[in-house]
């Protein structure tokens, strides 16, 4: 009898719960100061212009995207994802094609435009160093991989993504224009030489904590995180030599409920104005080619797009194609 009551209760609650109907546009990103800026300069501006409210969600989760698309119940309309994932997910049929009659792609950095995605912002992996903690700072990737000249712990991005493998190959003497296809054997051999001295960071905040506390006095960082760290009073030296760029992308999951509004949102978010304001606030670079003219000259000098001399562009197409293979090998190597 008890159990019948439970069933009755359960089925009523099931009926009552129904669908969480959200007519607002849902924008999903990684949280933190980055998403705060995206909210202020993209979403709020979009709402003011179009009268469509934007709900913020996060953090981005690829497992969630896949589950939503497969279940045919997609609650995210626009998602900020990593560039190589965008290419791969587009090919895997998880994304909507973007409507380039709404989004003006002629002004967008072509490095980050595909049928399914446009850039969101871009950043560089640079060499950061806590000047108060050590006598000399590594200037090149080769320095960072040299434990004789620069003894001590160094920190790198934990997850499988463009950046560390390229850095290892550059440190091993591979020419910047000969990186792709990646020589994985060589990269892992190089990484083996410093493995015992690596502390991995798994979130931007952790990388800052490691550097500030001198737990790892140098390493490879997202440039925006170093800018923010310097603002809090830590003496940070940044080396832009062979900075490795990678981008985040904006995508629309397949079956998104507010597809048309999503396209308009992306058009707004990638406009020169929105991109310039976002870049000013975060220290990441704009992907709209006109945006830098709207920005403060001094500020621009701290952005990756002013560091193009020795810049290396991570090849998103290559990464998208080999994402799974590299990832599997990467995590297996880490666990060894």
């Amino acid at each position: 009898m008890k159990s019948r009551l439970v069933i009755a209760l359960l089925s009523t609650t099931l009926l009552l719960a129904g669908n969480a109907a959200a007519e607002d546009l849902v924008f999903t990103s990684w949280g933190g100061t980055t998403q705060d800026a995206q909210k202020t300069y993209w979403a709020d501006a979009f709402t003011a212009e179009s009268n469509i409210a934007v709900t913020q969600d996060g953090p981005t989760d690829y497992g969630k995207i896949k589950a939503m698309v497969e279940a045919g119940n997609v609650t995210w309309d626009v998602v900020d994802v990593e560039g190589d994932y965008a290419v791969q997910a587009g090919n895997a049929g998880l994304l909507e094609k973007l409507d380039f009659s709404v989004i003006d792609k002629t002004k967008l950095d072509p490095r980050f435009v595909t049928d399914y995605s446009v850039g969101s912002f871009y950043y560089s992996f640079v060499i950061g160093c806590n000047k108060d903690a050590v006598e000399a700072c590594p200037k090149t990737w080769a320095d960072l991989f040299d434990t004789q000249k620069f003894p001590g712990k160094r920190t790198f991005y934990k997850w499988s993504a463009p950046g560390v493998i390229e850095a290892a190959l550059l440190a091993d003497g591979v020419a910047a224009d000969k990186l792709y296809p990646l020589d994985l054997d060589r990269a892992f051999r190089k990484l083996d030489t410093i493995k015992a001295d690596i502390v991995w960071w798994d979130s931007g905040a952790q990388s800052q904590q490691l550097l500030a506390s001198a737990e790892a006095p140098f390493g490879s960082f997202w440039n925006g995180r170093l800018t923010a760290l310097a603002e809090t009073g830590v003496t940070v030296e940044t080396s832009w030599t062979n900075n490795i760029t990678a981008a985040d992308s904006l995508v629309v999951p397949k079956g998104a409920k507010n597809k048309d509004a999503a396209m308009k949102f992306i058009a707004q978010a990638t406009s020169d104005q929105a991109q310039a304001q976002f870049a000013t606030a975060t220290g990441y670079a704009p992907i709209n080619l006109d945006a830098s003219t709207l920005m403060d000259a001094e500020l621009r000098s701290s952005l990756p797009d002013m560091q193009a001399d020795t810049q290396v562009n991570a090849d998103m197409g290559y990464w998208a194609e080999h994402r799974d293979e590299i990832g599997t090998r990467w995590y297996a190597w880490q666990a060894k």
Partner: protein
């Protein structure tokens, strides 16, 4: 004599020393968190350059902290009640029943504890999307109930093992209905098990983050989700401030409970 505090002799000193050390171990990170919440270093450097209330101001300036704490409290309270009731019934059934497959059932009931939570999270998320339940309070409750229930079954089951069934039977012989006997004899007798079940169930929900990340929606966030995303993104000592307030609140509750007990005795 091993169970008599006053007759332990030298052993007593050794045991007290150990307990003191364990207490120190347990309290060290808590004190550290409290200290960090007043430190001026955003990067958790200790000792900090100076002291500040800034993180508390930040905490109160963002209503999402309070809101997520209330959400957590609500969900954890419902989960606790359901977990204890369902867990008590299940433990009773496992304890009293003599049917084939009983051990298998017992093992089955505990599997949600073993399975990596992330698997359960993904699997449940996919199911809730199909049912249209994703992002609702009900989804949260079901998910947390699944991982809370094993604690109840273990804790209450343990207590029932040590309970002499004939006491309940005696009550029935004296004229009580089976349920009356259970409520008035068995439940009080296993109250320490029920208390343990309630504490563990509450914490299983209150402190759970992996399932919560999947079950959360923009408008429905628990405290651990808020802490998790803040930790990963900004690592601000606001987290330490929030934790410190919770600790202070807990201490306050304990003092009130102690005073209440004293008042009743007098």
């Amino acid at each position: 004599m091993l169970l008599d505090f006053d007759k332990l002799g030298g052993l007593r000193t050794a045991l007290i020393a150990l307990v003191a050390l364990v207490c120190l171990f347990l309290i060290l990170p808590i004190v550290f968190i409290a200290a960090l919440s007043f430190g001026s270093s955003q990067w958790l450097i200790f000792p900090p350059p100076s002291w500040t209330f800034r993180w508390y101001q930040d905490l109160f300036a963002d209503p999402r902290w309070l809101y997520s704490a209330l959400t957590s409290l609500k969900i954890a309270a419902i989960v606790t009640v359901l977990s204890v009731v369902i867990g008590f019934l299940a433990a009773l059934g496992l304890n009293r029943g003599r049917f084939p497959g009983r051990d298998f059932l017992r093992a089955l009931f505990l599997t949600p504890m073993i399975l990596p939570v992330v698997v359960l999270a993904v699997a449940l998320y996919a199911l809730f999307l199909k049912l249209g339940l994703a992002g609702t309070t009900l989804a949260f409750i079901i998910a947390h109930l699944l991982i809370a229930l094993p604690f109840s079954i273990i804790s209450i089951g343990n207590a029932l093992e040590g309970f002499d069934r004939s006491v309940e039977d005696a009550a029935i012989l004296c004229g009580a209905s089976p349920w009356e006997a259970r409520l008035r004899v068995t439940v009080p007798a296993v109250s320490h098990g029920i208390f343990g079940a309630a504490v563990f169930s509450f914490l299983a929900s209150w402190d759970e983050v992996v399932l919560a990340i999947f079950m959360a929606s923009p408008t429905l966030q628990t405290l651990p989700v808020k802490i998790w995303s803040t930790l990963r993104q900004d690592l601000t000592p606001v987290i330490a401030a929030a934790s410190t307030l919770l600790i202070a609140f807990t201490i306050l509750l304990m003092i009130v409970a102690a005073l209440f007990r004293k008042g009743r005795k007098a």
